[in-house]
């Protein structure tokens, strides 16, 4: 039984779903559905198994994405804030530095450096070795550095 801060777990799943779906409202729906499915799965003991929850959230996001057409990824430029013409984004913003990156790299950076997930958790989520995760993280950081270097700061 681990000590888990439920609100932080909610935030982590929510951010992940936001990035996948680019829609804050849908992301909250997915987050709450993730919690409910996790609790009903019988796997929930005293703590919350984050890797299992990410797996549930990933499947739910995939279901949602299949049901709607994905909009283009919007970046923030000159601190202008959200694009008011694209209601789907609802304030989700990524710097232009991330725009040119592959989805998988972007997602990895979020999970590792924003959500603070361990390499072990990421390896379990992506079904690969820890070594592979380290390699992918390095590649993602390089891609980000290249993109960031080209961005107007």
């Amino acid at each position: 039984m681990g000590s888990t801060d439920l609100e932080q777990v909610y935030d982590r799943i929510y951010r992940y779903a936001c990035l996948r779906l680019r829609d804050a409202h849908l992301a909250e729906d997915v987050t709450q559905e993730t919690f409910l499915r996790y609790l009903n799965s019988g796997k929930a003991g005293g703590g919350y198994e984050i890797r299992y929850m990410y797996a549930i959230a990933r499947n739910l996001c995939a279901d949602v994405s299949r049901r709607r057409r994905r909009g283009p990824l919007q970046g923030v430029s000159d601190g202008a804030g959200e694009d008011a013409t694209d209601a789907a984004l609802e304030g989700i913003a990524v710097r232009a530095a991330l725009e040119g990156m592959a989805d998988a790299d972007r997602e990895l950076l979020l999970l590792r450096y924003v959500n603070g997930e361990s390499v072990g958790t990421l390896a379990a989520l992506y079904g690969c070795s820890r070594f592979a995760i380290y390699r992918r993280l390095r590649r993602a950081r390089e891609a980000f550095r290249r993109s960031w270097g080209g961005e107007d700061v």
């Binding site: 000590s3 801060d5 609100e7 703590g47």
Partner: protein, 243 residues
């Protein structure tokens, strides 16, 4: 959520402290007004499961008061409470966070946030026994809120608070009433006037009046005096600052 009391009664050997009280409360702030001995504390103790009623029922969305599930929704500040003398303010709130089932990281985060909210961050390391009455009351409010309760029962919460603390407390309760059912008892009419969406009045164990009150309804104080009569009105305290 609906908190329902149905013909709630508490009878002792030679007197009836609460006499067939029924009401329903939803999210928002309800002020329970009444003189000393009206039965407010007894009623509140039955609403929190601290005292077993002689008759009647209490339930929140069908969850009976005697269940763990009900108490998990609950935050309670009694009129008079103690503390373990070796406890610091931090220990006091964390102890109740543990008894309310919060895991340690959540308990720590909430305790820090609540102590900041009630203005006790600097006193977190101080022993409870070194605090003034008003500071102790604020620590009591913090423990009542630590589990983010959906039902908050406060018995004479502004007792011992100085005017500045009272204003702060009123703002806090108003904010809490947006998401939770808040019931607070008092014999200070201005507390009710300033923060309650709904008012209940008790006398001799009975609910004698219940309804909404705002400025257009006139002076609550005058209405209170009329409802209770001259004698009982002497028992009530009218806060001159609030008039």
């Amino acid at each position: 959520m609906i908190l329902r009391a149905d013909r709630l009664t508490k009878q002792y050997r030679n007197r009836i402290a609460v006499d067939r009280v029924s009401f329903e409360l939803k999210e928002g702030v309800t002020g329970l007004l009444g003189a000393n001995g009206a039965g407010k504390t007894t009623l509140m103790r039955m609403l929190t499961g601290v005292l077993d009623p002689t008759g009647g029922e209490v339930a929140a969305d069908g969850i009976p008061v005697a269940s763990e599930a009900y108490r998990a929704l609950l935050g309670y500040l009694p009129q008079d409470f103690g503390y373990y003398p070796e406890f610091t303010v931090w220990d006091f709130v964390m102890y109740f966070a543990a008894l309310k089932g919060l895991d340690r990281p959540t308990a720590r985060r909430r305790t820090e946030a609540l102590l900041d909210r009630v203005g006790l961050t600097d006193a977190a390391g101080r022993r409870m026994k070194t605090l003034s009455g008003g500071m102790r009351q604020r620590a009591g409010i913090a423990q009542a809120l630590v589990n983010d309760p959906r039902i908050l029962i406060l018995d004479e919460p502004t007792a011992g608070l100085d005017p500045g603390e009272r204003v702060r407390f009123r703002n806090l309760i108003r904010e809490l009433g947006r998401h939770s059912i808040v019931l607070f008892s008092t014999h200070i009419v201005s507390d009710v006037e300033h923060i309650a969406d709904q008012v209940m009045m008790m006398n001799a164990g009975r609910l004698i009046w219940r309804g909404r009150w705002d400025e257009s309804d006139g002076s609550l104080e005058d209405f209170y005096m009329k409802a209770f009569g001259e004698d009982a009105a002497h028992e009530a305290v009218f806060d001159a600052v609030g008039l």
